[in-house]
């Protein structure tokens, strides 16, 4: 395998032995299985364009099987029914297993994705364990809230797992994305059908194997390889998937959301493309700024959604920054990602490779100045030189579209106001960087840029505790942090009247516009219900006007508690009114008569009564 540097070819052989590929089938319900069709997919080594191995190619039928397994595991299996701490223990074990197999896993991503092996190990695979441990620690901390309801109601929220999650992940960070999606979903108690990118299925299958070893029950985590337009489409339109989370291009994100809308309205979270600006101000340290800017774009060969693909440099230091960046690009060693001297591996596949080269041509054609790079490296595989354009105008294609490759666009600016405007002039809003020593500039720009992550004097500073996601057409929802857990949880509110509570006395407040208390006073108490809720005497002990063990109930209180459940119950009734159970009056109006404590939940019988509600009732307006 050839090893190249930018400009200077430097042929050496990689000494690292790629491990044999152990897992190539689909992982469904705890077993590795062939696809229903029996078809396979070639997975390619981007260093050579040659086939590494064949993996089973999943399609809609395989997704059906995986969803069935995940459904069963969710509806009847132990995973969502375990305590959070038990799920956490299994996830901790999963993390330990990944650490033990770090070399092999890093090699899979390196050979499959053209990623630098050493970085895969210390960044991608280490991050996987970290994410699992973080969310293992979150699994027993999913708190609902106990609510402070008005007027004699007690309520609380339960945070329940949302169900079967469909995850569709991209090829640029096969490991990180796998855990960015699965770790919080597992912690929440969900079951998962995950489709890795067709370019990089290998590590995902290995992780499925480790999950099983760690004790994740069968059916909880299913991995189905396949193409987006078949397998991915089957996930996003599946009627038995409760949630879809996707990371990838804006174009595909739109299709997924459309499919979700057209099928079962499953909630979707999307982490899509970007055209993230990096703003370098005159007061920046030149060396530090150049270093940050260089890594912000060229990290992972530019295949990163937050890549700072628009570098705005203030005019006072522009020349110096440009010079430094060119030096850095020229010093970059492009070559076999297993070679420890190499900084940049090949692009992930032929299609990307060709797309990037065509953007470079477009940049030249539209009048940008090519400072360095611009060519493929070698004759085999998908290597591209680190490329920098100067004199890029905001309306050029390379400044507007996501290139997803090692192509930097340099732009000059004068004032903060100007650069804020230009930075925001994009349909994307994923990330932004600011390099300055000035506190006011840092604060003002941070609030002004419409993007989900702002890095000040750093870039790609990801942390599992730091939520991450986009504004505008970079998507919605957040991965990482405790925010990510929310994507995999439903909120259920539980409400019940509470009688004789010390809290309800204090919380009574009379609303003169609220006519509901008229109901409470005008309607007779339904038979069988107790006529006057009593107040615990202990609570009235300090109430001089109500001495004695069984004091008369203050009239206001009586009205207050009786009116309180009514509006809420009525709303609730209305939701169920479509069933032909006699809940509507002949007039078509809803019976909003307040229910009494005697049988607050036997609403059907009460509401079936032929009563005419007051035409002035506010309840009708409320509901």
């Amino acid at each position: 395998m050839a090893n190249h540097s930018n400009g200077n070819s430097n042929h050496t052989e990689s000494s690292f032995k790629i491990p044999p590929i152990k897992f190539t089938k689909l992982f469904i319900n705890g077993d590795f299985v062939d696809s229903v069709s029996g078809k396979t997919l070639d997975t390619i080594d981007p260093r050579t364009g040659e086939v590494i191995t064949k993996v089973s190619l999943g399609d809609a039928e395989d997704i059906d099987l995986a969803v069935k397994a995940a459904r069963q595991a969710f509806d009847h299996g132990p995973w969502p029914r375990m305590s959070g701490s038990e799920r956490g223990l299994i996830m901790l074990k999963f993390a330990d297993l990944i650490e033990k197999n770090a070399d092999e896993l890093a090699a899979l991503d390196a050979v499959n994705g053209g990623k630098v092996f050493a970085l895969c190990k210390v960044i991608d695979v280490a991050e996987a364990s970290k994410a699992l441990r973080y969310y293992a620690g979150a699994a027993d901390k999913i708190h609902g809230t106990v609510l402070k309801l008005s007027k004699g109601l007690h309520g609380y929220t339960l945070r329940e797992p949302i169900g079967v999650v469909g995850s569709i992940i991209p090829w640029n960070f096969p490991t990180v994305m796998f855990f960015m999606k699965t770790a919080p979903a597992l912690a929440a108690g969900c079951t998962i059908v995950l489709k890795p990118a067709e370019q990089t299925p290998l590590s995902a299958l290995y992780y499925a194997h480790l999950a099983k070893l760690a004790g994740v029950p069968d059916g909880v985590l299913n991995v189905v390889n396949g193409h987006g337009h078949t397998t991915g489409a089957a996930i996003s339109s599946h009627m038995d998937i409760d949630k879809v989370t996707f990371t990838g291009s804006t174009e595909v994100g739109r299709k997924i959301m459309t499919a979700a809308a057209a099928s079962n309205l499953k909630p979707v979270s999307l982490e899509l493309g970007g055209k993230s600006p990096l703003l370098i101000f005159d007061d920046a340290d030149i060396d530090q700024a150049a270093e940050i800017a260089f890594r912000a774009l060229f990290f992972n060969k530019g295949e990163i959604c937050v890549a700072s693909s628009r570098v705005f440099v203030q005019e006072g230091i522009y020349e110096k920054i440009e010079k430094k960046l060119i030096e850095k690009a020229k010093a970059t060693v492009v070559g076999d990602p297993f070679d420890p001297k190499v900084h940049q591996g090949p692009q992930t596949d032929k299609k990307q490779f060709e797309k990037i080269l065509s953007y470079i041509e477009l940049g030249k054609r539209e009048g940008a100045t090519l400072l360095t790079g611009g060519n493929r490296v070698g004759q085999k595989g998908y290597y591209i030189e680190p490329t920098i354009f100067a004199n890029v105008k905001d309306d050029m294609t390379i400044a507007r579209e996501e290139i997803f490759g090692p192509v930097m666009s340099l732009m000059k600016f004068r004032t903060m106001e100007e650069v804020i405007k230009r930075a925001n002039d994009t349909t994307y809003g994923l990330a932004a960087g600011i390099i300055t020593k000035n506190l006011n500039v840092a604060n003002t720009v941070s609030r002004s840029i419409r993007a989900g992550v702002i890095w000040i004097n750093c870039y790609t500073a990801f942390d599992v505790d730091c939520p991450y996601g986009g504004y505008k057409m970079s998507g919605f929802g957040r991965d990482y942090g405790l925010d990510a857990l929310n994507q995999y949880l439903q909120t259920k509110s539980v409400v019940t009247p509470v009688v004789d509570s010390p809290c309800t006395i204090g919380s009574f407040d009379e609303d003169p516009d609220d006519s509901t208390h008229i109901y409470a006073q005008n309607y007779p108490t339904p038979p069988g219900s107790s006529s006057s809720p009593t107040v615990p005497s202990i609570l009235l002990a300090s109430h001089p006007s109500t001495p004695g063990p069984t004091p008369p109930v203050p009239p206001l209180r009586r009205a207050s508690w009786r009116k309180s459940p009514a509006p809420r119950l009525s709303c609730w009734i209305q939701r169920r009114i479509s069933s032909p159970s006699g809940l509507l009056h002949p007039t078509g109006e809803l019976d909003s008569r307040p229910l009494d404590r005697g049988d607050p939940w036997t609403w059907a019988s009460t509401c079936g009564a032929q009563r005419t509600p007051s035409p002035n009732s506010r309840l009708h307006r409320i509901c």
Binding site: S83, S85, E86, G88, L89, L92, K130, R133, Y134, A136, G137, A138, A139, D140, K141, H143, H154, L439, N440, N443, T444, R447, S448, V464, D465, L482, T496, V498, V499, D500, S501, P502, C503, T534, P536, S537, I538, L539, A541, P549, T550, R597
Partner: protein, 539 residues
Amino acid sequence: MAAASRISSLLSRSLASSTSSSLISKGRIYGVGRSVVCGYTTAAALEKPITPSVKVTYTKLLINGDYVDSASGKTFPTYDPRTGDVIAHVAEGDAEDINRAVSAARKAFDEGPWPKTTAYERSRVLFKFADLIDQHTEELATLETWDNGKPYEQAAKVELPMISRLIRYYAGWADKIHGLTVPADSPHLVQTIHEPIGVAGQIIPWNFPLLMFAWKVAPALACGNTVVVKTAEQTPLSALYAAKLLQEAGIPAGVVNVVSGYGPTAGAALASHMQVDKLAFTGSTETGKIVLQLAAKTNLKPVTLELGGKSPFIVCKDADVDKAVELAHFALFFNQGQCCCAGSRTYVHESVYDEFLEKAKARALKRSVGDPFVAGIEQGPQIDSEQFEKIMKYIRSGVESGATLETGGERIGDKGYYIQPTVFSNVNENMLISKDEIFGPVQSILKFKDINEVIRRANTTTYGLAAGVFTQDIDTANTLTRALKVGTVWVNCYDVFDAAIPFGGYKMSGQGREKGIHCLSNYLQVKAVVTPLKDPAWI
């Protein structure tokens, strides 16, 4: 398995057949030979206590990463409550040792590396500590039983798993301690940063020596603090062992210091130390008052107190009597009645009172008391002679004040501190046994007529730690839940102690909460950071 369900498994009394510890193999033979030591009348069973097969390795003070003698060179004996014999002589810490420990903790806090270690790294140390606790369950549980007298099975199968669970819980918090960005009225950026509070002094009791150690140490360490723990003089052994495991897990020297010693000397020195930033105490209300005063008189260090209780257990008219009897029995007699949240006032509705009383008495008679190392034993000896005498005094007081002694009331055997499970009926709120915390196996049963009455009576106490409510009626449950002035209400359960459930008292049962998210705030300072915004896009 959740710790809560482990506790409740004690209710099923199915433990007799399930032990398999090599450390108590002698006990198993013994247990098998005699079947289960059932009922407290088998005093003969106490004659030949089993010799625990664990060596007492750590008896010195742990200061700055080393086990050291006390400055004075003094030691004190720690006793086996089964016999009153000495287990080991332990270095006796005093003010000078506290000074040394605090200065080690101070240095470890001010200079690092612990508070400067990333949260993820801190969490990994705590996860490792939990794993080590799991790996050393037998040794730790044996030390615990030997020093404290609690049933070995309870220590090994309930408490130790609860401990590792709790440590993992706080390990998981370390990297999720979030401040807020705060809305401002004017163009300002406002943030809160939660910082570790500093050197925490922690004084723990003898009833759950290791569990209390974990409750104190785990959240403090997760937040990045350094600690000086003073263990109870009755039970110094298990914490010294656990601290060794903490070091093995990677805790830097000086971060955790353990000083054995007495309250008036070592405890007082810690509570009044000017370099201690925070104090947490679990113990009696009487001592809690002293601790709070010492903190007030010195550097105004914030104090959390988890003190005594006289917790009501209320059995309503709709209760399933058999279940209520079992749960009320468990609520009081668990851990020899030595629980701050013991259900020590059992209120029973008049309509089920007679049946309840008869069954509660029968249940107490059936309680197996004996050598806590023997499988199937539910109740071991009380902790020490002082507690033993105090409990016997309360039993006499109960009789003298006119309560009916239904069963028990006597010591068992003539060695060690065993007391018969004791049940009083016809108890009223004027009697000392329904006012004072007895901290022993003495159940008081009181009769009530209606909900309002029982609310009033249940709240007639200076304590407010916990309460049990036994009913199927949703309104009764909700009413009682809100009306009782206590820190924990267990409805149709008792002593459910998940790591995530906050625990602490109203009134004179203490201040602050331990466990759960709430405990973190005990060990954090909040720093508000405010800076003007120049021409912000919004505020």
